[in-house]
């Protein structure tokens, strides 16, 4: 959890810093340390959210958000409540995600999933290359995206052409294929769903188009 050189346990840093004060007695060092350390002041009853929280370490701490060169509004990608998020990015990479306080839905709050969104975007489990598994192969291989797109287009055309039916045996027009299916949509944008239905249904004549709303 350490961020930007400032750990979540600043008192450990304090110990080192105080240790560098040379040439004074143990008593003086201890007194300096206690004076700077926020805990005794807090225990003495000072407001923990105000001056008593300050120390030389906290003075050096800077909010992570200051490093962001871009911030935008997003919608939490999990359930359908539609909480607003603010995503902060630096050099095109997300550095922080938090609830948008303006939203009447969530007023800045997020649940554990929403609060962990950054962990999803930056998950080490994330796959960022195109993987391909040939028939009967026992392992994935990495392939260029362009190659995969062309191969998928060809396979789609072939499957459609081989399974497309224009009429029933009695001559009634159906103009459809049930040889290709598409599953998924509820995690995606409206624009994406629209193009899926338009291309697959309106363009190719596919009917087996379904998503999580059914299950």
């Amino acid at each position: 959890m350490a961020r930007d050189g400032h750990g979540p346990e600043p008192w450990r840093k304090r110990g080192k810093a105080v240790g560098r004060i040379v040439g004074k007695g143990v008593g003086a060092r201890l007194s300096g340390f206690l004076k700077d350390w926020s805990l005794p002041r807090q225990l003495a009853g000072e407001d923990v959210q105000s001056t008593a929280a300050r120390s030389s370490a906290s003075e050096r701490l800077r909010p992570r958000l200051e490093q962001a060169d871009r911030v935008g509004t997003s919608i939490c990608p999990f359930c359908a409540v539609g909480c607003s998020q603010l995503i902060y990015a630096k050099n095109g990479r997300p550095i922080h995600v938090e609830g948008d306080p303006r939203s009447p839905v969530n007023a800045g709050t997020l649940c554990p999933k929403g609060a962990g969104t950054l962990g999803m975007l930056l998950s080490p489990e994330r796959v960022t290359k195109v993987l391909y598994r040939a028939p009967r192969a026992t392992a994935w291989e990495v392939k260029p995206l362009d190659w995969a797109m062309e191969r998928i287009a060809q396979l789609t055309k072939q499957a459609r052409d081989e399974t497309f039916a224009e009429t029933l045996p009695d001559g009634r027009i159906i103009n459809h294929t049930v040889g290709i299916g598409s599953l998924g949509g509820a995690t995606m944008d409206n624009e994406e769903n629209y193009l899926i239905k338009k291309l697959f249904g309106g363009g190719l004549g596919m009917l087996n188009i379904e998503n999580q709303a059914r299950i």
């Binding site: 871009r70 935008g72 509004t73 919608i75 990608p77 999990f78 359930c79 359908a80 539609g82 990015a89 095109g92 990479r93 939203s103 009447p104 839905v105 709050t109 554990p112 999933k113 962990g116 969104t117 999803m120 975007l121 998950s123 489990e125 994330r126 796959v127 290359k129 391909y132 040939a134 028939p135 009967r136 026992t138 396979l155 055309k157 499957a159 497309f164 049930v178 290709i180 299916g181 598409s182 998924g184 949509g185 509820a186 995690t187 995606m188 944008d189 409206n190 624009e191 629209y194 193009l195 899926i196 239905k197 291309l199 249904g201 309106g202 009917l207 087996n208 188009i209 998503n211 999580q212």
Partner: protein, 849 residues
């Protein structure tokens, strides 16, 4: 209702949902209502985080919801607790039904019109006397063959016959009284296992908090939909709410808590087999749909708002086929594929297993975890020629050929699996822009803030470029069958190095425009049926009313003194309305029912409807307007100024549904398809029209099967989201819920010799899994019809990929379907449970983790 409107409720019944766990941020409006004095009630088989914060917890056996809600309906009617001024005026309570109608009470669980051979109903005897009533829901129109081509002109001749004294033996009031007469508090206890005192407390609390001055709400989720009677459970709730006047009013309503970020959007603009965008029926070859005119004639209601349907259909065809869509060629209607039957996800699985399906795209879904009968699905994937999976991390579905349960168990080996598999990495929110629609129809734009890593691309990019390549491949074809892909409009602007299509250009097409000048339409009222307008989804009209004006981007919430409808925050379809049917928030004369519960009202001076929300009504229609039946009124002219439910053909809330439901006009208690008990109410054991696919690999347990004595229900956790890999691959959430478990009551644990954290084996005819026991009082035995029924529960969110791993619960469940929606049952099938582990061989084979 809007999510935040829950805070205005005086009583909230959470039923079929664990809102605190699964929709925690929506739950803040429940706790806000509670703080303001509302009573919070949780009705659920398990004692959950939601129960813990409720004022009343009512335990019921999984799958007995209609018995409970039917008991509420009976209690409300018998004790005259209903809101007379509301229900008599705004519902079909007084309507008279055909003489031939016969109730399950006289047919041992079947309505009139049942054909035992086809296991389907004919709906003639359910109609208003002398009428043929169109259904208001495209999905139901589509699935109800009986109704196609009905004589809807009968609706324009006169209003449906009524007996406002409610004495006519076949008026809806009298039919309902007879239908629910046996759903007494004692029967509720006998069927559901809920003590009758608790049941009475629930119904009386809701009734007390309903009326002119007060309103109550329900929240539900897949705890209601995942049953063979899912639609009818929700229907039962609508009857309760309409009788009590809790519809279209502040703090009143039924809140569907849906599971995925844009599951509402993907229903509206459907990646679903049976609908065209925004609830237009997909043509069906077995209906009267051979030409555009016949399709429109047989599907368009003559009265009510849906009479406008032809404008929406023709505008959609213009959006899709552009210049190739002309009056001469039915605007490209012949291009649309025609249905031949149910092609939803479950039959799709059958088609894979049977080798009918050749290729499959799986886009952000993970059926090997989320679909029932996971082993059966896996077998289907192995029969495909090719499979394209798009996700952001490896899923159980994508690598089924190397790590699947059948491969690990030795039934299949990678060398035998012919399927060619592609895994394409997907861009995530924050890395792409567009709109998503939340569970209360709020369409919200999200920005692109950062770059997607490596070859990750948005689904918009994928589908656009796939379409572009396919159009090239088909460019030279002279086959008629390739006319659709050639005609399809596909010229979206792209930008940047990766040629990302502009989402806003797609949204503009969904919003609609005038063909001649490309100017956006501001409202669906501007759409025409003559080909002069194009619109990809009429209900979304107004989301981009002017060029460059994207209302989904709007971020102006009301201040603390504002009306609280937040009309400046994003866009809610239709027309930015936050509460559907809000005409019902005013009395028949147009005045608010009470100052405390005002929302919209009639302004006599300005001769318009006005108020705190966008009126869901014809703005200038006077409350005292009545149709002139001598003129055979059509469309909205046939609805009075006191008919709030404008999508219904008669403007009334349908307590009794004459058309559109496959399993009956009134909700009736049937046992789940698999149940340890006989139906205590009828000889008919389970929904006679439920969809069944009993076959090798998908066998069902007969009722009272001693081999599988326990009711099994699945659930989700705050920290882990659905079958998607998203949260299992997220370090923080995976750490919070690292491993699968099964909840077992202390009573059942003692009976079976299971201690907390012991390994157990769960089995069904579909498969078996091993998982550790969580012995907890959160689940309890029920006494049903005089005998003890044990229930166990398990999260279905685990799998073998990501950091949080464990057995896949859906291995145990069979593929079945609700009669109306084909939605599977996950909440109430049966299993066996024992202490111990799978044998070593089987463990290697079957362990999900």
């Amino acid at each position: 209702m809007a999510l935040w409107d829950l805070a205005n409720s005086d009583c909230i019944i959470e039923m079929g949902s664990n809102i605190a766990e699964n929709h925690p941020i929506a739950f803040r409006f429940v706790t806000e209502a509670q703080r303001r004095g509302a009573t919070i009630i949780h009705v659920d088989p398990r004692f959950t985080r939601t129960s813990a914060l409720a004022d009343i917890y009512a335990p019921i056996r999984s799958g007995s919801d209609i018995a409970f809600l039917g008991g509420m309906i009976r209690h409300i009617l018998e004790n005259d607790l209903w809101f007379r001024d509301f229900a008599l005026e705004y519902t079909n309570l007084a309507h008279i039904i055909e003489d031939g109608y016969a109730d399950p009470e006289s047919h041992d669980g079947l309505f009139s019109g049942f054909d035992a051979e086809t296991r389907a109903y004919k709906q003639e005897t359910w109609q208003y006397k002398g009428k043929t009533v169109p259904s208001s829901i495209a999905e139901h129109r589509e699935q109800t063959e009986e109704q196609a081509g009905g004589d809807f002109e009968s609706m324009t001749e006169s209003p449906p016959p009524q007996d406002r004294t409610l004495q006519h033996p076949n008026c809806v009031y009298q039919i309902m009284k007879r239908h629910y007469a046996r759903y007494t508090p004692e029967m509720v206890e006998r069927v559901t296992g809920c003590p009758k005192e608790t049941f009475l407390k629930v119904v009386e609390t809701l009734a007390r908090n309903s009326g002119r001055e007060r309103t109550g709400a329900f929240t539900y989720a897949v705890g209601w939909t995942h049953h063979s009677t899912g639609v009818q459970i929700i229907r039962a709730c609508t009857i309760v709410q309409a009788l009590l006047g809790n519809v279209g009013r502040p703090g009143g309503g039924i809140m569907a808590l849906r599971g995925h970020v844009s599951i509402q959007g993907s229903t509206d603009i459907p990646t679903l087999y049976n609908m065209l965008p925004t609830y237009l029926p997909q043509p069906n070859v077995f209906h009267d749909h051979a030409t555009l005119d016949r399709y429109l004639e047989s599907e368009t209601p003559t009265t009510g708002w849906w009479a406008n349907m032809p404008k929406y259909v023709v505008s959609l065809l213009k959006a899709w086929y552009g210049e190739a869509a002309t009056r001469a060629n039915d605007y490209g209607y012949p291009f649309l594929p025609k249905l031949t039957g149910d092609l939803s996800q479950e039959p799709m699985t059958m088609a894979m297993v049977d080798g009918v399906m050749r290729g499959q795209f799986i886009l952000g879904q993970n059926p090997l975890v989320g679909a029932v009968n996971a082993d059966f699905v896996e077998r289907g994937l192995g029969k495909l020629d090719w499979l394209v999976v798009r996700d952001f991390a490896m899923t159980e579905t994508a690598n089924f050929w190397s790590k699947g349960r059948l491969v690990a168990g030795g039934e299949l080996s990678p060398e035998d699996i012919e399927t060619e598999v592609f895994f394409l990495p997907a861009a995530m929110p924050g890395e792409k822009e567009g709109t998503v629609t939340n569970t209360s129809r709020l369409v919200q734009w999200h920005d692109k803030v950062c770059e997607a890593p490596g070859d990750s691309r948005s689904d918009l990019w994928f589908i656009y470029h796939l379409g572009r390549r396919l159009k090239q491949l088909y460019a030279d074809s002279r086959e008629t069958r390739d006319g659709a892909i050639q005609a399809l409009t596909w010229d979206y602007p792209v930008e940047g190095e990766i040629q990302e299509p502009k989402a806003e250009a797609v949204l503009a097409e969904i919003n609609g425009y005038t063909v001649s000048d490309g100017e956006p339409v501001a409202s669906y009222k501007e759409l025409k049926d003559d080909g002069s307008t194009a619109c990809g989804g009429w209900m979304y009209c107004g989301v981009m009313p002017k060029k460059g004006h994207n209302v989904a981007r709007s971020r102006k919430p009301d201040g603390p003194d504002g009306p609280g409808s937040h009309l400046g925050w994003a866009f809610a379809w239709p027309s930015n309305r936050r509460t559907l049917y809000n005409r019902a928030s005013a009395d028949p004369s147009g005045k608010p029912w009470s100052e405390r519960k005002k929302m919209i009202w009639w302004d006599e001076e300005k001769e318009t409807w006005t108020g705190l929300d966008v009126p869901d009504f014809v703005e200038t229609k006077r409350p005292d307007y009545r149709p002139d039946w001598s003129k055979r009124p059509h469309g909205m002219d046939a609805l009075g100024g006191n008919d709030p439910f404008i999508m219904e053909a008669d403007g009334k809330s349908q307590l009794f549904v004459p058309t559109g439901l496959k399993d009956g006009p009134l909700p009736t208690h049937y046992e789940p398809i698999e149940s340890p008990v006989k139906n205590p109410l009828y000889g008919q054991q389970f929904n006679p029209t439920a969809k069944l696919w009993g076959r090798p690999g998908n066998e069902l347990h007969p009722p009272e099967d001693p081999r599988f004595p326990y009711v099994f229900t699945t659930f989700r956790l705050t920290e882990l989201h659905c079958g998607g890999i998203s949260t299992r691959a997220m370090p923080h959430t995976a750490e919070l819920q690292p491993e699968a478990f099964v909840e077992v009551s202390p009573e059942l644990a003692a009976e079976l010799g299971i201690r907390h954290r012991d390994w157990t084996v769960l089995s069904s005819l579909r498969g078996e899994i091993e998982v550790r026991a969580m012995v907890t009082e959160r689940v309890r035995p029920f006494t049903v019809a005089g005998r003890v029924v044990h229930q166990i529960g398990m999260p279905w969110v685990f799998g073998r990929e990501g950091y949080a791993r464990g057995a896949i619960a859906n291995v145990l469940l069979a593929i079945t379907g609700d009669a109306n929606t084909s939605i599977h049952t996950t909440k109430a099938l049966t299993v066996n449970l024992r202490a111990g582990r799978l044998t070593q061989l089987k463990r290697e084979a079957r362990h999900g983790g």
